[in-house]
């Protein structure tokens, strides 16, 4: 990442009459919503490196359907905040061309379920360029994806497609769970020379948290958000706070759950997971995505290989069902909640 002096960014705007005050970069700790934290992270990345450009539908004047990119167009101009035609494959494919020219494109996919038209460019092109060209061509592209359910939406707006991408070599996959990580990891993702799928839990966009303007621990690292001794509970995205709530409720019954926020889904921080499982001897993994072929299976297989003699019981997954994401009136049954997570904990601890 190149450090440039903070020049006055062009305030060219495509919308006549649009005058917004030029926001300053985050310089001190603030309480922010997750969407605002991402906004600040994007702003900081764009200030630091003139090669960072954003592409996506409605990210300019509208500031994105979740307002994550608000005010950036006014600050950085239409050449760096690009409202694209409605074509996901082209959003990703033109980002490839920009990366060829040394840009660091940040693509926004408006909703998780719309990533699939761009799937080929992500998997056949972006993921493979570095390998294909033996390192000559880099794809420092970040693809931001609001993901997950719990917002009572219509079809295709509540997907959890992360497993398709963790299964694709050449990609890094991140899922944030809180405003601090949202800020820090979007900056790290943009700065990384590898392509990064950056998943934002959309039902947590409005949750507030303290944000320190720092990069924080490396994005490959998982973080223990609630230490414990009886069972290891792995989560990511929106379910991290659900998992933490479950740990607090379980403490009332004398059960001590260690909650780990994976943050990085590819690669997984197995060192942290192993250390925890060696301590507790029990493992539960939870995700919204469907069970079969999901990340839970991969992680549990790896943990079984690495920590077999420490496992006092079989690891267990608490996940969405193997169904297409259900309609709004049924989604509460499908999504893992505190009770289902604790039910899983009970099973691994032999309490039921």
């Amino acid at each position: 990442m190149t450090m440039t002096t903070m020049t006055n960014p062009a305030t060219v705007s495509t919308v006549p009459g649009l005058t917004a005050p030029t926001p300053t970069a985050l310089t001190e700790t603030k309480t922010l919503t997750m969407s605002k934290a991402i906004n600040e992270g994007l702003r900081q990345a764009m200030l630091e490196d003139p090669k960072v450009v954003l592409l996506g539908e409605d990210i300019g004047a509208l500031g994105g359907v979740f307002r994550v990119t608000s005010d950036l167009l006014a600050q950085f101009g239409a050449r760096r905040i690009i409202d694209t035609p409605l074509a996901e494959s082209a959003i990703i494919g033109t980002a490839v061309g920009l990366a060829y020219r040394g840009y660091r494109p940040v693509c926004e996919i408006q909703f998780d379920g719309f990533i699939f038209p761009g799937f080929d460019q992500i998997v056949s092109q972006i993921a493979k360029f570095h390998y294909r060209t033996q390192g000559a061509v880099r794809m420092p592209i970040t693809i931001r994806v609001p993901f997950g359910g719990g917002i009572g939406a219509a079809e295709h707006h509540s997907e959890s497609p992360e497993a398709y991408f963790t299964h694709t070599s050449g990609l890094r996959v991140i899922a944030v769970s809180n405003p601090q990580d949202a800020y820090s990891l979007v900056r790290q993702a943009i700065a990384s020379d590898d392509p990064v799928l950056y998943f934002e839990p959309k039902r947590r966009y409005h949750v507030k948290g303290e944000v320190v303007p720092e990069l924080g621990p490396p994005m490959e690292q998982a973080v223990i958000v609630h230490p414990g001794t009886d069972v290891t509970l792995l989560a990511y995205g929106a379910l991290v706070s659900t998992a933490r709530d479950a740990a607090l409720a379980a403490a009332d019954e004398g059960v001590s759950i260690e909650v780990i926020d994976l943050r990085s889904l590819s690669p997984v921080d197995y060192a942290a997971v192993e250390a925890s499982v060696q301590k507790t001897g029990h493992l539960v993994v939870t995700h919204e995505a469907a069970q079969s072929g999901g990340l839970g299976g991969e992680i549990i297989a790896a943990v079984t290989e690495r920590c077999f003699n420490y496992l006092e019981s079989a690891p267990l997954r608490v996940t969405g069902f193997d169904v297409p994401y259900p309609p709004a009136k049924l989604e509460s049954y499908h999504l893992p909640d505190l009770d289902r997570i604790l039910d899983g904990v009970d099973r691994v601890l032999g309490r039921r």
């Binding site: 450009v53 050449r79 760096r80 690009i82 694209t84 035609p85 074509a87 494959s89 082209a90 990703i92 494919g93 033109t94 980002a95 490839v96 061309g97 920009l98 990366a99 060829y100 020219r101 040394g102 840009y103 494109p105 038209p117 080929d120 460019q121 056949s124 092109q125 493979k128 570095h130 390998y131 294909r132 060209t133 033996q134 390192g135 000559a136 061509v137 880099r138 420092p140 070599s169 050449g170 890094r172 990384s192 020379d193 590898d194 490959e220 590819s266 690669p267 997984v268 921080d269 197995y270 060192a271």
Partner: protein, 367 residues
């Protein structure tokens, strides 16, 4: 300057006669005898390379080769118009373009031999490596062009693809973006009439060149076997892009004289009469006729050209056969630009596995 007339623009007749064309003539006025001879030499050499590579595949030295036989003028005429700071985004058949760009012959065949997924560093020749996914490269070219626009340089992206590719979503999306941003990109379609076994009429219900104006992109329809027309059209398009005029679509009407790839059998689906007809429109033949008329083809020239072709073929053969096989553990190289603990562990495990067989030879059996 849209041109959707049924007859593609031709500056050179089958007999080698120079046909005047008011709009195109100024763009090739500089091509004197020596310049035309240079183009001819290029085409002879690339044809010879193509033939040699086909033979090498028949001899088991290459896994695959996509012949460009018949498309020499389309590729050479356009490639020689492109500037070194422009960037080329080809499909997988533009090996004549790679040659013109200065890619070493051994590097051209590296990917077809299976030693690597690509043969050269794109930045050394400003040409991307062959693209197997049909049409994907057109988006890359458009993005590059948007970047050039942002950077306020007058470099242009040119992307090659075939008639079949124009059916792919990516190609159409690329044209949407190119038009919307008025990006400096040239869409160069070699309509060689066939996409494996599917004739072009399955892909397009009207001339392919007619599509682009629908997106707001002017198009040129030219005789792809006429190196003069190709060069003129490419120059027109490049100039338009350089001067802020936005994208252009060129349909070069040509013919795939060989199979789709070396494992294809066109006799199963093509009429031999069609092949015979296109043989009369051979791009080298008509340029040779023009050069003969101009007195450029002397015995010395003929001999020198032959020698050049032979030398290229020999270099290609030697380079291909002499290519060392990649080391087993290199399968793990360059997946990421940054370290990845899980992959490193796999690599370590596999290295230990290979070592467990005791010998220093790690190539294994039956590979």
């Amino acid at each position: 300057m849209s041109d959707s007339s049924p007859q593609p623009v031709q500056l050179l007749s089958l007999d080698g006669e120079r046909m005047p064309h008011g709009d195109f003539d100024p763009w090739v006025a500089d091509l004197d005898g020596p310049a035309l001879l240079a183009l001819y030499r290029d085409m002879v050499v690339v044809r010879r390379i193509d033939t040699e590579a086909t033979a090498l595949q028949r001899q088991g030295e290459l896994g695959l080769w996509p012949p460009l036989l018949g498309q020499e003028a389309a590729q050479v005429g356009s490639a020689r118009a492109v500037r070194t700071d422009d960037f080329i985004f080809p499909s997988y058949r533009e090996n004549a373009v790679a040659y013109c760009r200065g890619v070493a012959l051994t590097d051209i065949v590296k990917v077809w031999r299976g030693n690597a997924q690509s043969g050269w560093d794109p930045y050394t020749v400003n040409m991307a490596t062959p693209a197997i996914i049909i049409g994907a490269q057109t988006l890359h070219a458009t993005g590059w062009a948007i970047g050039a626009q942002n950077d306020e340089v007058d470099s242009v992206a040119i992307t090659y693809f075939g008639d079949g590719a124009t059916s792919q979503g990516d190609v159409n999306e690329a044209m949407v973006f190119a038009a919307s941003f008025q990006a400096p990109v040239v869409f160069f379609c070699q309509n060689n009439q066939w996409a494996i076994s599917e004739p072009v009429r399955v892909q397009a219900h009207r001339n392919i060149a007619d599509r682009a104006p629908g997106f707001g992109i002017p198009s040129l329809r030219i005789d792809g076997n006429d190196v003069l027309a190709v060069m003129a059209a490419t120059r027109i398009a490049l100039d338009r892009a350089r001067t802020g005029g936005g994208p252009t679509f060129i349909e070069a009407v040509t013919y795939r004289m060989g199979p789709h790839t070396t494992a294809d059998d066109p006799t199963r689906y093509r009429d031999p009469a069609e092949l015979a007809e296109w043989k009369t429109r051979d791009p080298l033949l008509r340029l040779h006729r023009l050069l003969t008329l101009l007195g450029e083809i002397t015995p010395e020239v003929a001999e020198a050209t032959q020698a050049l072709a032979d030398a290229a073929a020999a270099e290609l053969r030697a380079g291909c056969i002499g290519m060392p096989d990649p080391e087993p553990l290199s399968v793990f190289d360059h997946v990421y630009a940054t370290p990845n603990a899980t992959l490193e562990r796999q690599r370590t495990d596999y290295a230990a596995y290979l070592t467990s067989f005791g010998s220093s030879d790690q190539s294994g059996e039956g590979r």
